[in-house]
Symmetry: C2
Subunit: 242 residues, 2 copies
Protein backbone atom coordinates (compact mmCIF):
# COMPACT_ATOMS: atom_id res chain seq x y z
CA UNK A 1 0.00 0.00 0.00
CA UNK A 2 1.46 3.34 -1.03
CA UNK A 3 1.11 6.11 1.51
CA UNK A 4 2.27 9.70 1.63
CA UNK A 5 4.18 11.33 4.46
CA UNK A 6 5.04 14.95 5.12
CA UNK A 7 7.39 16.29 7.76
CA UNK A 8 6.35 19.92 7.74
CA UNK A 9 9.25 21.89 9.20
CA UNK A 10 10.02 25.54 9.64
CA UNK A 11 12.80 25.48 7.05
CA UNK A 12 11.74 22.62 4.75
CA UNK A 13 8.95 20.16 4.00
CA UNK A 14 10.22 16.60 3.60
CA UNK A 15 7.71 14.64 1.50
CA UNK A 16 7.77 10.91 0.90
CA UNK A 17 5.80 8.23 -0.92
CA UNK A 18 6.15 4.57 -0.03
CA UNK A 19 5.16 1.81 2.32
CA UNK A 20 7.92 1.92 4.96
CA UNK A 21 11.41 3.17 5.72
CA UNK A 22 13.10 0.96 3.08
CA UNK A 23 10.78 1.93 0.26
CA UNK A 24 10.61 5.70 0.02
CA UNK A 25 10.72 8.31 -2.71
CA UNK A 26 11.69 11.51 -0.92
CA UNK A 27 11.54 15.16 -1.94
CA UNK A 28 12.65 18.18 0.11
CA UNK A 29 10.84 21.45 -0.51
CA UNK A 30 11.94 24.71 1.14
CA UNK A 31 9.40 26.33 3.45
CA UNK A 32 8.50 29.70 1.92
CA UNK A 33 4.94 31.06 1.79
CA UNK A 34 2.10 28.66 2.52
CA UNK A 35 0.72 29.02 -1.03
CA UNK A 36 4.00 28.31 -2.83
CA UNK A 37 5.08 25.55 -0.46
CA UNK A 38 1.76 23.71 -0.48
CA UNK A 39 1.60 23.98 -4.29
CA UNK A 40 4.99 22.28 -4.64
CA UNK A 41 4.02 19.58 -2.15
CA UNK A 42 0.80 18.86 -4.06
CA UNK A 43 2.74 18.70 -7.33
CA UNK A 44 5.12 16.11 -5.82
CA UNK A 45 2.29 13.86 -4.69
CA UNK A 46 0.37 14.21 -7.98
CA UNK A 47 3.50 13.37 -9.96
CA UNK A 48 4.35 10.41 -7.71
CA UNK A 49 1.09 8.66 -8.39
CA UNK A 50 -1.88 7.90 -6.16
CA UNK A 51 -1.47 7.38 -2.43
CA UNK A 52 -4.12 5.89 -0.18
CA UNK A 53 -3.70 8.47 2.59
CA UNK A 54 -1.28 11.10 3.82
CA UNK A 55 0.24 11.57 7.26
CA UNK A 56 1.58 14.97 8.28
CA UNK A 57 3.88 15.72 11.19
CA UNK A 58 4.00 19.47 11.50
CA UNK A 59 5.79 22.29 13.27
CA UNK A 60 3.39 24.17 15.50
CA UNK A 61 1.57 24.94 17.58
CA UNK A 62 -1.12 23.07 15.67
CA UNK A 63 -4.63 21.74 16.18
CA UNK A 64 -4.38 17.91 16.10
CA UNK A 65 -7.88 17.26 17.50
CA UNK A 66 -10.05 15.57 14.82
CA UNK A 67 -13.20 16.76 16.63
CA UNK A 68 -12.18 20.42 16.45
CA UNK A 69 -13.41 22.78 13.68
CA UNK A 70 -9.79 23.87 13.17
CA UNK A 71 -8.38 20.33 13.04
CA UNK A 72 -5.41 20.25 10.72
CA UNK A 73 -4.52 23.91 11.13
CA UNK A 74 -1.18 25.37 12.06
CA UNK A 75 -2.38 27.83 14.72
CA UNK A 76 -0.40 30.35 16.79
CA UNK A 77 3.04 29.73 15.27
CA UNK A 78 5.65 32.51 15.47
CA UNK A 79 6.06 32.04 11.68
CA UNK A 80 3.40 34.65 10.96
CA UNK A 81 2.68 33.74 7.33
CA UNK A 82 1.77 30.23 8.50
CA UNK A 83 -0.68 31.27 11.22
CA UNK A 84 -4.13 29.74 10.89
CA UNK A 85 -3.18 27.81 7.76
CA UNK A 86 -5.34 24.73 7.12
CA UNK A 87 -2.50 22.46 6.07
CA UNK A 88 -4.37 19.16 6.38
CA UNK A 89 -7.41 20.60 4.59
CA UNK A 90 -5.28 21.89 1.73
CA UNK A 91 -3.79 18.45 1.16
CA UNK A 92 -7.13 16.68 1.50
CA UNK A 93 -8.75 19.14 -0.92
CA UNK A 94 -6.00 18.93 -3.54
CA UNK A 95 -5.46 15.17 -3.44
CA UNK A 96 -8.82 13.79 -2.30
CA UNK A 97 -7.40 11.44 0.33
CA UNK A 98 -7.69 11.09 4.08
CA UNK A 99 -5.10 13.06 6.04
CA UNK A 100 -3.72 12.30 9.51
CA UNK A 101 -2.23 15.29 11.28
CA UNK A 102 -0.09 15.57 14.40
CA UNK A 103 2.93 17.34 15.82
CA UNK A 104 6.32 16.61 14.29
CA UNK A 105 7.45 14.96 17.54
CA UNK A 106 4.34 12.78 17.86
CA UNK A 107 4.83 11.69 14.23
CA UNK A 108 8.46 10.83 15.06
CA UNK A 109 7.30 8.93 18.15
CA UNK A 110 4.81 6.99 16.02
CA UNK A 111 7.60 6.13 13.58
CA UNK A 112 9.79 4.85 16.42
CA UNK A 113 6.82 2.80 17.68
CA UNK A 114 6.11 1.30 14.25
CA UNK A 115 9.64 0.76 12.92
CA UNK A 116 12.22 2.00 15.41
CA UNK A 117 13.41 2.10 18.99
CA UNK A 118 9.97 2.02 20.63
CA UNK A 119 8.67 -1.20 19.09
CA UNK A 120 6.68 -3.18 21.66
CA UNK A 121 6.50 -0.34 24.17
CA UNK A 122 3.34 1.36 25.39
CA UNK A 123 4.81 4.21 27.42
CA UNK A 124 7.74 6.10 26.00
CA UNK A 125 9.03 9.55 25.20
CA UNK A 126 10.60 10.78 21.97
CA UNK A 127 12.65 13.93 22.37
CA UNK A 128 14.20 16.13 19.70
CA UNK A 129 17.05 18.52 20.48
CA UNK A 130 17.78 20.81 17.56
CA UNK A 131 16.54 24.21 16.47
CA UNK A 132 14.01 23.71 19.24
CA UNK A 133 13.45 21.12 21.92
CA UNK A 134 10.25 19.12 21.77
CA UNK A 135 8.80 15.88 23.02
CA UNK A 136 6.10 13.46 21.98
CA UNK A 137 5.19 10.01 23.03
CA UNK A 138 2.73 7.41 24.15
CA UNK A 139 0.89 6.62 27.34
CA UNK A 140 -0.90 3.25 27.48
CA UNK A 141 -0.13 2.73 23.78
CA UNK A 142 -1.72 5.97 22.59
CA UNK A 143 -0.06 9.19 21.49
CA UNK A 144 -0.43 11.95 24.08
CA UNK A 145 -2.22 15.13 23.09
CA UNK A 146 -4.18 16.53 25.99
CA UNK A 147 -5.91 19.87 25.60
CA UNK A 148 -3.81 20.80 22.54
CA UNK A 149 -0.43 19.12 22.58
CA UNK A 150 2.64 19.10 24.84
CA UNK A 151 5.30 21.79 24.46
CA UNK A 152 7.85 19.90 26.51
CA UNK A 153 10.88 21.97 25.58
CA UNK A 154 9.59 24.94 27.53
CA UNK A 155 9.84 23.41 31.01
CA UNK A 156 11.80 25.41 33.59
CA UNK A 157 14.91 23.85 35.13
CA UNK A 158 17.52 25.03 37.63
CA UNK A 159 19.85 27.57 35.99
CA UNK A 160 23.05 28.37 37.88
CA UNK A 161 23.89 31.89 36.71
CA UNK A 162 27.38 31.67 38.21
CA UNK A 163 28.27 28.63 36.14
CA UNK A 164 26.33 29.82 33.09
CA UNK A 165 25.50 33.56 32.93
CA UNK A 166 23.82 33.15 29.50
CA UNK A 167 20.29 34.53 29.87
CA UNK A 168 18.68 32.00 27.53
CA UNK A 169 17.26 32.64 24.07
CA UNK A 170 13.61 31.57 24.24
CA UNK A 171 11.55 34.56 23.04
CA UNK A 172 8.79 33.56 25.47
CA UNK A 173 10.62 32.39 28.59
CA UNK A 174 14.30 33.28 28.30
CA UNK A 175 15.95 30.45 30.20
CA UNK A 176 13.49 27.58 29.84
CA UNK A 177 15.14 24.31 28.73
CA UNK A 178 14.82 25.21 25.02
CA UNK A 179 16.24 28.65 25.77
CA UNK A 180 19.29 27.07 27.44
CA UNK A 181 19.96 23.88 25.49
CA UNK A 182 18.65 24.14 21.90
CA UNK A 183 21.11 24.51 19.01
CA UNK A 184 20.52 28.30 18.82
CA UNK A 185 21.18 28.54 22.58
CA UNK A 186 24.49 26.73 22.18
CA UNK A 187 25.46 28.99 19.28
CA UNK A 188 24.44 32.18 21.11
CA UNK A 189 26.28 31.21 24.28
CA UNK A 190 29.56 30.11 22.71
CA UNK A 191 29.65 32.21 19.55
CA UNK A 192 29.85 29.28 17.19
CA UNK A 193 27.53 26.59 15.90
CA UNK A 194 27.21 23.38 17.93
CA UNK A 195 28.62 21.41 15.00
CA UNK A 196 31.89 23.36 15.20
CA UNK A 197 32.52 22.89 18.93
CA UNK A 198 35.22 20.25 19.59
CA UNK A 199 34.70 17.24 21.83
CA UNK A 200 36.45 18.64 24.90
CA UNK A 201 34.67 21.98 24.79
CA UNK A 202 32.83 22.88 28.05
CA UNK A 203 29.68 23.38 25.96
CA UNK A 204 29.07 19.64 26.01
CA UNK A 205 29.22 19.13 29.77
CA UNK A 206 26.79 22.01 30.20
CA UNK A 207 24.52 20.66 27.45
CA UNK A 208 24.48 17.21 29.07
CA UNK A 209 23.72 18.83 32.43
CA UNK A 210 20.69 20.69 31.10
CA UNK A 211 19.36 17.74 29.11
CA UNK A 212 19.74 15.52 32.19
CA UNK A 213 17.69 17.98 34.25
CA UNK A 214 14.98 17.98 31.60
CA UNK A 215 15.03 14.19 31.33
CA UNK A 216 14.72 13.84 35.11
CA UNK A 217 11.60 16.01 35.06
CA UNK A 218 10.00 14.02 32.26
CA UNK A 219 10.93 10.69 33.83
CA UNK A 220 9.40 11.78 37.15
CA UNK A 221 6.27 13.05 35.39
CA UNK A 222 5.69 10.33 32.78
CA UNK A 223 7.58 7.26 34.04
CA UNK A 224 8.46 6.23 30.47
CA UNK A 225 9.75 2.75 29.67
CA UNK A 226 12.28 4.34 27.32
CA UNK A 227 13.43 7.79 26.17
CA UNK A 228 14.54 8.18 22.55
CA UNK A 229 16.72 11.19 21.74
CA UNK A 230 16.77 12.67 18.25
CA UNK A 231 17.39 15.97 16.50
CA UNK A 232 20.45 17.74 15.15
CA UNK A 233 22.27 18.26 18.46
CA UNK A 234 21.98 14.54 19.27
CA UNK A 235 23.68 13.58 15.99
CA UNK A 236 27.04 14.55 17.46
CA UNK A 237 29.11 11.39 17.92
CA UNK A 238 31.03 10.69 21.10
CA UNK A 239 34.51 12.19 20.82
CA UNK A 240 33.76 13.93 17.55
CA UNK A 241 32.32 17.21 16.46
CA UNK A 242 28.78 16.89 15.09
Amino acid sequence: MRLGGIEAGGSKFVCAIGSGPDDLAICEIPTTTPEATIQRVVTFFKAGGPVKAIGIGSFGPIDPNPKSPTFGYITSTPKLAWRNVDLAGAMRGALGVEVAFDTDVNAAALGEFRWGAAQGLEDFLYLTVGTGIGGGGMSNGELMHGRTHPEMGHIRIPHDLVRDPFAGCCPYHGDCLEGLASAPAIESRWGQAAGNLPAGHPAWDLEAHYLALGLCNWVFTLSPQRVILGGGVMRRRRGHAA
Copy 2:
Protein backbone atom coordinates in the same frame (compact mmCIF):
# COMPACT_ATOMS: atom_id res chain seq x y z
CA MET B 1 -23.48 -2.70 44.77
CA ARG B 2 -21.34 -2.47 47.90
CA LEU B 3 -17.65 -1.96 47.31
CA GLY B 4 -14.69 -1.48 49.59
CA GLY B 5 -12.13 1.30 49.36
CA ILE B 6 -8.81 1.79 51.13
CA GLU B 7 -6.67 4.88 51.12
CA ALA B 8 -3.42 3.41 52.43
CA GLY B 9 -1.41 6.30 53.83
CA GLY B 10 1.83 6.60 55.72
CA SER B 11 0.07 7.68 58.93
CA LYS B 12 -3.36 6.08 58.58
CA PHE B 13 -5.46 3.72 56.50
CA VAL B 14 -8.88 5.16 55.65
CA CYS B 15 -11.27 2.31 54.87
CA ALA B 16 -14.76 2.65 53.47
CA ILE B 17 -17.69 0.48 52.44
CA GLY B 18 -20.40 1.82 50.16
CA SER B 19 -21.46 2.59 46.62
CA GLY B 20 -20.40 6.23 46.22
CA PRO B 21 -19.42 9.40 48.08
CA ASP B 22 -22.88 9.87 49.68
CA ASP B 23 -23.15 6.33 50.99
CA LEU B 24 -20.05 5.46 52.95
CA ALA B 25 -19.20 3.79 56.23
CA ILE B 26 -15.71 5.00 57.04
CA CYS B 27 -13.08 3.78 59.49
CA GLU B 28 -9.62 5.26 60.11
CA ILE B 29 -6.90 2.88 61.26
CA PRO B 30 -3.45 4.12 62.28
CA THR B 31 -0.55 2.84 60.18
CA THR B 32 1.66 0.77 62.48
CA THR B 33 3.25 -2.54 61.48
CA PRO B 34 1.95 -4.23 58.32
CA GLU B 35 0.66 -7.23 60.30
CA ALA B 36 -1.31 -5.21 62.86
CA THR B 37 -2.62 -2.66 60.36
CA ILE B 38 -3.75 -5.21 57.81
CA GLN B 39 -5.41 -7.29 60.53
CA ARG B 40 -7.49 -4.30 61.63
CA VAL B 41 -8.41 -3.45 58.06
CA VAL B 42 -9.54 -7.03 57.42
CA THR B 43 -11.59 -6.97 60.62
CA PHE B 44 -13.36 -3.79 59.48
CA PHE B 45 -14.33 -5.27 56.14
CA LYS B 46 -15.42 -8.60 57.65
CA ALA B 47 -17.57 -6.78 60.22
CA GLY B 48 -19.06 -4.47 57.56
CA GLY B 49 -20.49 -7.32 55.55
CA PRO B 50 -19.61 -8.62 52.10
CA VAL B 51 -18.20 -6.30 49.40
CA LYS B 52 -17.98 -7.20 45.74
CA ALA B 53 -14.44 -5.88 45.29
CA ILE B 54 -11.90 -3.63 46.95
CA GLY B 55 -9.97 -0.71 45.51
CA ILE B 56 -6.73 0.39 47.16
CA GLY B 57 -4.94 3.70 46.64
CA SER B 58 -1.59 3.35 48.36
CA PHE B 59 1.46 5.31 49.41
CA GLY B 60 4.50 4.08 47.56
CA PRO B 61 6.47 3.43 45.58
CA ILE B 62 4.27 0.49 44.64
CA ASP B 63 3.86 -2.04 41.83
CA PRO B 64 0.53 -1.25 40.12
CA ASN B 65 1.15 -3.44 37.05
CA PRO B 66 -1.35 -6.35 36.99
CA LYS B 67 1.01 -8.33 34.72
CA SER B 68 3.90 -8.14 37.18
CA PRO B 69 4.68 -10.94 39.68
CA THR B 70 4.87 -8.28 42.42
CA PHE B 71 1.57 -6.59 41.46
CA GLY B 72 -0.07 -5.18 44.55
CA TYR B 73 3.15 -4.81 46.54
CA ILE B 74 4.42 -1.73 48.29
CA THR B 75 8.01 -1.82 47.05
CA SER B 76 10.94 0.50 47.83
CA THR B 77 9.19 2.78 50.32
CA PRO B 78 11.30 4.66 52.87
CA LYS B 79 8.94 3.19 55.54
CA LEU B 80 11.15 0.16 56.00
CA ALA B 81 8.63 -2.12 57.74
CA TRP B 82 6.35 -1.76 54.71
CA ARG B 83 8.94 -2.67 52.09
CA ASN B 84 7.94 -5.53 49.80
CA VAL B 85 4.58 -5.98 51.54
CA ASP B 86 1.93 -7.63 49.35
CA LEU B 87 -0.92 -5.38 50.41
CA ALA B 88 -3.31 -6.30 47.61
CA GLY B 89 -2.60 -10.00 48.03
CA ALA B 90 -3.22 -9.81 51.78
CA MET B 91 -6.65 -8.26 51.22
CA ARG B 92 -7.54 -10.69 48.43
CA GLY B 93 -6.44 -13.64 50.53
CA ALA B 94 -8.31 -12.58 53.65
CA LEU B 95 -11.55 -11.45 51.98
CA GLY B 96 -11.69 -13.54 48.82
CA VAL B 97 -12.57 -10.64 46.50
CA GLU B 98 -10.92 -8.97 43.53
CA VAL B 99 -8.61 -6.11 44.44
CA ALA B 100 -7.69 -3.08 42.32
CA PHE B 101 -4.44 -1.41 43.30
CA ASP B 102 -2.92 1.92 42.31
CA THR B 103 -1.10 4.92 43.72
CA ASP B 104 -2.95 7.19 46.15
CA VAL B 105 -2.86 10.02 43.60
CA ASN B 106 -4.14 7.87 40.73
CA ALA B 107 -6.96 6.67 42.99
CA ALA B 108 -7.77 10.29 43.81
CA ALA B 109 -7.67 11.15 40.10
CA LEU B 110 -10.06 8.29 39.37
CA GLY B 111 -12.41 9.59 42.08
CA GLU B 112 -12.35 13.07 40.54
CA PHE B 113 -13.06 11.48 37.15
CA ARG B 114 -15.97 9.41 38.45
CA TRP B 115 -17.58 11.85 40.91
CA GLY B 116 -15.64 15.10 41.07
CA ALA B 117 -13.89 17.87 39.19
CA ALA B 118 -12.66 15.77 36.27
CA GLN B 119 -16.02 14.42 35.09
CA GLY B 120 -16.16 14.29 31.30
CA LEU B 121 -12.44 14.94 30.85
CA GLU B 122 -9.95 12.57 29.24
CA ASP B 123 -6.69 14.39 29.95
CA PHE B 124 -6.21 15.87 33.38
CA LEU B 125 -3.83 16.03 36.31
CA TYR B 126 -4.62 15.57 39.99
CA LEU B 127 -2.00 17.01 42.32
CA THR B 128 -1.68 16.66 46.07
CA VAL B 129 0.38 19.11 48.13
CA GLY B 130 0.76 17.91 51.70
CA THR B 131 3.29 15.77 53.55
CA GLY B 132 4.59 15.06 50.06
CA ILE B 133 3.80 16.34 46.60
CA GLY B 134 2.44 13.84 44.10
CA GLY B 135 0.52 13.75 40.86
CA GLY B 136 -1.72 11.32 39.05
CA GLY B 137 -4.02 11.62 36.12
CA MET B 138 -5.32 10.48 32.81
CA SER B 139 -4.14 10.62 29.22
CA ASN B 140 -6.72 9.68 26.57
CA GLY B 141 -9.12 8.60 29.30
CA GLU B 142 -6.74 6.13 30.95
CA LEU B 143 -4.78 6.49 34.16
CA MET B 144 -1.09 7.03 33.51
CA HIS B 145 1.39 4.50 34.89
CA GLY B 146 4.32 4.06 32.55
CA ARG B 147 7.20 1.85 33.60
CA THR B 148 6.17 1.97 37.28
CA HIS B 149 4.29 5.15 38.14
CA PRO B 150 4.99 8.87 38.08
CA GLU B 151 6.74 10.53 41.03
CA MET B 152 5.83 14.03 39.91
CA GLY B 153 6.71 15.83 43.13
CA HIS B 154 10.40 15.22 42.58
CA ILE B 155 10.83 17.40 39.49
CA ARG B 156 13.56 20.04 39.65
CA ILE B 157 12.60 23.70 39.34
CA PRO B 158 14.53 26.98 39.49
CA HIS B 159 15.53 27.76 43.08
CA ASP B 160 16.74 31.30 43.75
CA LEU B 161 19.05 30.87 46.74
CA VAL B 162 19.13 34.62 47.35
CA ARG B 163 15.37 34.84 47.76
CA ASP B 164 15.13 31.48 49.50
CA PRO B 165 18.34 30.10 51.06
CA PHE B 166 16.49 27.03 52.43
CA ALA B 167 18.34 23.98 51.09
CA GLY B 168 15.22 21.85 50.66
CA CYS B 169 14.21 18.82 52.72
CA CYS B 170 13.87 15.96 50.24
CA PRO B 171 16.10 13.14 51.51
CA TYR B 172 16.83 12.13 47.91
CA HIS B 173 17.15 15.45 46.04
CA GLY B 174 17.29 18.29 48.55
CA ASP B 175 15.60 21.08 46.64
CA CYS B 176 13.30 19.27 44.24
CA LEU B 177 9.73 20.64 44.22
CA GLU B 178 8.68 18.40 47.11
CA GLY B 179 11.80 19.43 49.02
CA LEU B 180 10.88 23.11 48.60
CA ALA B 181 7.09 23.22 48.73
CA SER B 182 5.68 20.27 50.73
CA ALA B 183 4.22 20.88 54.20
CA PRO B 184 7.42 19.67 55.91
CA ALA B 185 9.44 22.06 53.70
CA ILE B 186 7.24 24.99 54.77
CA GLU B 187 7.59 24.01 58.42
CA SER B 188 11.38 23.54 58.20
CA ARG B 189 11.89 26.85 56.41
CA TRP B 190 9.72 29.05 58.61
CA GLY B 191 9.92 27.20 61.92
CA GLN B 192 6.21 26.69 62.27
CA ALA B 193 3.57 24.49 60.67
CA ALA B 194 1.89 25.74 57.48
CA GLY B 195 -1.45 25.78 59.27
CA ASN B 196 -0.14 28.37 61.74
CA LEU B 197 1.26 30.82 59.18
CA PRO B 198 -1.02 33.88 58.77
CA ALA B 199 -2.38 35.03 55.44
CA GLY B 200 0.11 37.83 54.83
CA HIS B 201 3.15 35.72 55.67
CA PRO B 202 5.80 35.63 52.89
CA ALA B 203 5.61 31.83 53.03
CA TRP B 204 2.52 31.93 50.84
CA ASP B 205 3.95 34.00 48.00
CA LEU B 206 6.94 31.68 47.90
CA GLU B 207 4.71 28.59 48.04
CA ALA B 208 2.59 29.92 45.16
CA HIS B 209 5.76 30.69 43.20
CA TYR B 210 7.09 27.13 43.54
CA LEU B 211 3.75 25.47 42.81
CA ALA B 212 3.36 27.68 39.73
CA LEU B 213 6.77 26.57 38.46
CA GLY B 214 5.79 22.95 38.97
CA LEU B 215 2.41 23.45 37.30
CA CYS B 216 4.07 25.11 34.29
CA ASN B 217 6.31 22.10 33.84
CA TRP B 218 3.42 19.65 34.02
CA VAL B 219 1.24 21.75 31.73
CA PHE B 220 4.05 21.92 29.14
CA THR B 221 4.67 18.18 29.45
CA LEU B 222 1.11 16.82 29.65
CA SER B 223 -1.13 19.56 28.19
CA PRO B 224 -3.93 18.70 30.66
CA GLN B 225 -7.47 19.94 30.15
CA ARG B 226 -7.64 20.68 33.86
CA VAL B 227 -5.43 20.54 36.96
CA ILE B 228 -7.06 19.63 40.27
CA LEU B 229 -5.20 20.61 43.43
CA GLY B 230 -5.70 18.69 46.67
CA GLY B 231 -3.85 17.83 49.86
CA GLY B 232 -3.42 19.49 53.22
CA VAL B 233 -1.56 22.59 52.07
CA MET B 234 -4.26 23.35 49.50
CA ARG B 235 -6.97 23.31 52.18
CA ARG B 236 -5.87 26.75 53.33
CA ARG B 237 -8.59 29.23 52.44
CA ARG B 238 -7.82 32.57 50.81
CA GLY B 239 -7.17 35.14 53.53
CA HIS B 240 -7.25 32.57 56.34
CA ALA B 241 -4.79 30.29 57.98
CA ALA B 242 -5.32 26.66 57.03
